[in-house]
């Protein structure tokens, strides 16, 4: 096997890595945003429940949660390792994303909400048209961080057998006895993925930025 084949075998795992990320990140965002809205606007009981959710899902190592969710899901529904692993990762991420969205919502000053009510907008309208648009912009930097974390944590699903980058590196490393090259290659690919994502999100942040005179 030549060098090119070696590298491309590992690189072909990128599809799975990206796939896991593209499933986990948005599902984490969806769940996280809903929970964050409940946390901030849902009243005391909701806030306590959300706090509990956050404490538990952020206090347990992601790999432990991944295993629990994966095995629990596998008992009930017949999902492939890819989907079970991705959604599990998404659920893990939702707790962190909830905190990010919550932080952003709280950073949009409560006065903005008051000003919105003052012109007759309902609470729901005020949140939707005034608070959320501003919160989204505030959330992008920490969210960009979370995206990078998910790309890296996607390597955990190798333990579930998903043929992503790390798994492929392991397989080809074992068969060729060239572990160092295999894992270094994997590292480079991950690095490029993380770098590209951060760069893209940074561009997005600039695009969405509200114009102001410094």
């Amino acid at each position: 096997m030549n060098f090119g084949q070696f590298i491309s075998y590992i690189a072909s795992g990128t599809v799975y890595t990206v796939g896991v990320t593209l499933v986990a990140l948005p599902s984490g965002l969806l769940i996280g945003t809903i929970l964050a809205l409940l946390y901030v606007y849902g009243g005391k009981t909701a806030a306590r429940l959300m706090n509990l959710y956050s404490t538990i899902f952020r206090g347990v190592p992601p790999i432990v949660l991944l295993f629990i969710l994966f095995f629990a899901v596998s008992k009930g529904i017949n999902l492939s390792a890819f989907w079970a692993g991705s959604f599990s990762l998404g659920i893990v991420s939702s707790a962190y994303q909830m905190e990010i969205v919550r932080g952003a919502l709280l950073s949009v000053s409560g006065d903005q909400l008051m000003a919105a009510r003052a012109i007759g907008l309902s609470r729901l309208q005020a949140i939707r048209y005034v608070v959320l648009p501003q919160a989204i912009r505030l959330a992008i930097p920490p969210w960009s961080n979370e995206a990078a974390i998910i790309i890296k944590d996607s390597s955990l699903v190798y333990a579930l057998g998903v043929p992503e980058i790390l798994r492929r590196a392991q397989l080809i490393g074992a068969s060729s006895q060239k572990y160092l090259l295999a894992y270094l290659s994997a590292a480079v690919i991950y690095f490029l993925l993380v770098f590209a994502t951060s760069h893209l999100l940074s561009l997005l942040e600039k695009r969405l930025a509200i114009p102001s005179n410094p």
């Binding site: 538990i56 206090g59 347990v60 790999i63 432990v64 160092l180 991950y190």
Partner: protein, 225 residues
């Protein structure tokens, strides 16, 4: 199938032993990470340009790649060029080198927050650059960094869980052992999850205690955790 509570009765001792290894991994990783992280932060803040770039590259690489890959490179890859570590050592190294990159950023942030003004004040009374760093900047910066830095020990505690993949007998490994013994994967890992949660709570409480005890009166430190 054991209810997960029953796991503590049957595997309690194993879990305890595993938890001890986990804490040890956390402590060593944190220590290595702190020393190296501090050096990196100082290099970035006060070093010559080339050193700044080097430190920056280190941080970018270790934060831009998965810890698992770093671990595998150290444990499985390095022996090919003659450097072989035991499982534990490889784990300590990987955790420490990785943590250093994150700690460097926390420390760099607070050193910058203390600011050039304090440096000028120190130089103005005749301190050399390194004396100013040691006696003026760092004492303040370290205290300032504490609230956000406190995320790191907790994060590290959770991160250590993956070293079971190179057969280090930490808490996670004990969990796996219990799971493969009873074939109740969900229950076993749930029990492990509870132990991790307890450890995180305890660590969190300890860190908050330290924060309170070392706060400089009057210094407005925003606790952002």
């Amino acid at each position: 199938m054991l209810t997960w509570l029953g796991y503590f009765g049957r595997f309690g001792q194993n879990f305890l032993r595993g938890a001890g290894i986990t804490l040890e991994l956390t402590a060593v990783g944190l220590a290595i990470g702190f020393v190296l992280g501090l050096l990196l932060a100082l290099a970035r803040c006060f070093g010559p340009k080339w050193l700044q770039k080097l430190a920056g590259a280190y941080i970018a690489i270790f934060r831009g790649t998965p810890l698992l890959v770093q671990l595998f490179i150290i444990y499985y890859g390095l022996p090919e060029i003659g450097i072989a570590f035991s499982q534990s050592t490889a784990a300590y190294l990987a955790l420490g080198l990785n943590s250093a990159a994150y700690q460097a950023e926390y420390l760099r942030g607070s050193i910058n927050a203390i600011g050039a003004a304090q440096m000028q004040a120190g130089r103005a009374i005749g301190l050399s650059k390194w004396q100013a760093i040691g006696y003026v900047i760092l004492p303040q910066a370290l205290r300032l960094a504490l609230p956000s830095w406190s995320n790191e020990p907790i994060s590290l505690l959770k991160t250590t869980a993956i070293v079971f993949l190179i057969a280090v007998q930490d808490l996670m490994a004990e969990g796996k052992r219990a799971a493969t013994t009873t074939f109740d994967f969900v229950g076993a890992y749930l029990a492990i999850a509870v132990v991790y949660l307890l450890m995180v709570f305890a660590l969190d409480a300890l860190l908050k205690f330290i924060e309170r005890k070392t706060a400089i009166p009057g210094m407005d430190i925003e606790t952002q955790r």
